[in-house]
């Protein structure tokens, strides 16, 4: 059981939750499975990227989550001192960039959550963040100290107007760039296409319906290299050219 040390709103519908004690050795891009104790409904744990690792007494982790349904709704109603059950860290994270490689991160909304720890580890590069409006862009705030941040909003209320995918092409040079992306599946597919066209390495962090988070239920399948692989244990980070994007559920 982990105790909630903070749980506050950071952007429309998005919260940042601190949990203590922490979990062992987290790689950027790994996730935890969280369960709210109490009733048997919702039954399953919910997966969240580790947003940050907290130092100090007992240690801790942070997640940044968006309220989309019942589980996240219940999480938002919890207060400091309440307990949740944390399993992890789980999955395979992002590989670090090669020496001299340019780094471009592409995030859609709360997708920044899986990139933050990576950004902290790398400490340079460019984040292309896409959100609906200037308030969503608060999600990219923590990245400003770490790298160059470029904002794209659907309503043009901050940064450039449009979808983040429209601006990816100009951002990635030819070779010598590595792209890290997380966000909605349609966005990831577009980013992957561009990266493959340009012949640059690109890693995407996928989502999938998960029951176990540890590779045993075979629920979170994604088609990759002609076979089903598990988002939780073979991923959530995949090289974009492994994924059979046609076989993805939209």
């Amino acid at each position: 059981m982990a105790r909630i040390v903070h749980n506050y709103p950071v952007a429309p519908g998005c919260y940042r939750m601190g949990l203590s004690p922490g979990v062992d050795r987290v790689e950027p891009g790994q996730f935890v499975m969280i369960r709210i104790p109490g009733g048997l409904d919702p039954l399953l744990r919910r997966p969240f990227s580790v947003y940050n690792v907290l130092r100090g007494r007992g240690g801790g982790i942070e997640i940044v989550y968006k309220v989309v349904g019942r589980g996240t709704g219940m999480m938002a109603s919890l207060g400091v001192g309440d307990e949740v059950d944390v399993l992890g860290p789980l999955g395979r994270g992002f590989p670090m960039p090669g020496k001299k490689e340019r780094v471009v991160m592409v995030a859609g909304g709360v997708g920044v959550a899986s990139l933050h720890l990576l950004a902290k580890r790398i400490g340079y590069g460019t984040l292309l963040f896409g959100g609906r409006n200037r308030r969503d862009a608060r999600l990219a705030g923590d990245f400003r100290d770490l790298m160059e941040v470029k904002i794209v909003t659907e309503d043009g209320s901050m940064g450039r107007k449009g979808f983040v995918t429209e601006f990816v092409e100009e951002e990635i040079g030819e070779e010598g760039t590595v792209v890290y992306a997380c966000g909605p599946s349609a966005m990831l597919e577009k980013v992957s296409c561009i990266a493959m066209d340009r012949g640059v390495r690109c890693y995407v962090s996928l989502e999938g319906m998960m029951a176990c988070g540890m590779g045993v239920c075979l629920g979170c399948a994604v088609k990759a290299d002609g076979a089903y692989r598990m988002v939780c244990s073979d991923g959530p980070v995949f090289r974009c050219d492994e994924i059979d994007w046609q076989g993805m559920d939209g």
Binding site: R35, L40, D41, P42, L43, L44, R45, D85, L87, G208, M209, M210, A211, C212, G213, M214, G215, V216, C217, L218, G219, C220, A221, V222, K223, A227, Y228, G247, M248, D249
Partner: protein, 314 residues
């Protein structure tokens, strides 16, 4: 109250059970498809503390399984339509079993075939393999087009599969029954006639969840199999019905989350139980259940766990 004073309670309680010729340390197994090949859980517990590990359903050839989405949560339960994705019996024996042997836990192989021949072929391959304590015949998977549930809802087909497997192996045989039948007693008698040494039930219940925005199933298939606490009361009833007909031991499965749930199944007639979906919610569940049963026995002055089986007062 009086029973608490029994002498036996000063010493240890006896959790061991004999299931159709398999001597197990305790009555707690893990259900097929919910515990991988077992090894994945070694970080969370000492596997040799379990009665047995039942591995993911094995077929003759590797199977790719169904496209995603394969799971969806439902009230107090989940649907799955994995479609029996597995590495095939030979890869299992070659790559996974040696690791499991190292963990010194009884291993039961859950097997599956598209026809009777495939069932007996898989059983034959496992016969005599070191480290396999028994086979569990899955005649009840709702998520594959051929085989599976077709055998599980037709008594004569079920008997045919079991007798074929019976001829193919000297290992103890558990036959896993489908809940998607009107009368479980008929199925029990059929698989007993086929020569099974034990029965286990229930497999998942065929069920459906619809995405009302897209007007499609929430799974890639129209239906999936319902598991988890939602089905527990149905499973307990079916175990009770099966127990009253069966001559062989009954293994109870369905929504077990705690030791109390497991004890409910045993009182209804189960000689052993399997923990399924709960492994996803808390990977340590099966060990917690073992410990909880032991505490209950001490508290109630029950010396041998078998005394619980079928102890329901009606």
């Amino acid at each position: 109250m009086a029973s608490k004073k029994r002498d036996g309670m000063r010493g240890a309680v006896d959790l061991s059970v004999d299931i159709g010729g398999m001597r197990l340390k305790n009555p707690v197994m893990t259900a097929s498809g919910t515990f991988g090949y077992g090894i994945e859980f070694a970080d969370y517990m000492d596997l040799k503390g379990l009665g047995a590990v039942v591995v993911k359903g094995l077929s003759l050839k590797p199977r790719a399984g169904n496209p995603p989405p394969r799971i969806v949560e439902t009230p107090c339960g989940m649907l799955n339509s994995i479609g029996l994705q597995n590495i095939g019996v030979e890869a299992f024996v070659r790559d996974k079993l040696p690791l499991l042997r190292g963990l010194r836990v009884s291993v039961i192989a859950n097997i599956f075939g598209e026809d009777v021949d495939e069932y007996s072929e898989v059983a034959r391959i496992l016969d005599g393999v070191r480290g396999i304590s028994g086979v569990e015949i899955n005649i009840s998977c709702p998520n594959v087009k051929k085989g599976g549930i077709a055998f599980g809802t037709d008594p004569s087909e079920a008997r045919r599969v079991v007798s074929a497997v019976r001829k193919a192996t000297t290992l103890p045989i558990i036959t896993k029954l489908s809940p998607n039948v009107g009368d479980i007693g008929t199925m029990v008698r059929a698989v007993e006639d086929g020569g099974t040494d034990a029965i286990s039930l229930i497999n998942t219940i065929t069920a459906m969840a619809i995405d009302i925005e897209r007007k499609t199933s929430k799974l890639s298939q129209p239906t999936g199999g319902l598991s988890g606490p939602a089905i527990k009361p149905i499973a307990v009833r079916m175990v009770w019905e099966a127990y009253r007909t069966a001559r062989v031991p009954v293994i109870g499965i369905g929504g077990i989350m705690t030791a109390d749930d497991a004890i409910e199944f045993m009182i209804a007639g189960a000689a052993a139980i399997q923990v399924g979906t709960a492994n996803f919610v808390n990977p340590r569940t099966a060990m917690d259940v073992v410990e909880g049963i032991e505490r209950y026995m001490k508290r109630h002055g029950i010396r041998k766990v078998g005394e619980l089986t079928g102890s329901l007062k009606v």
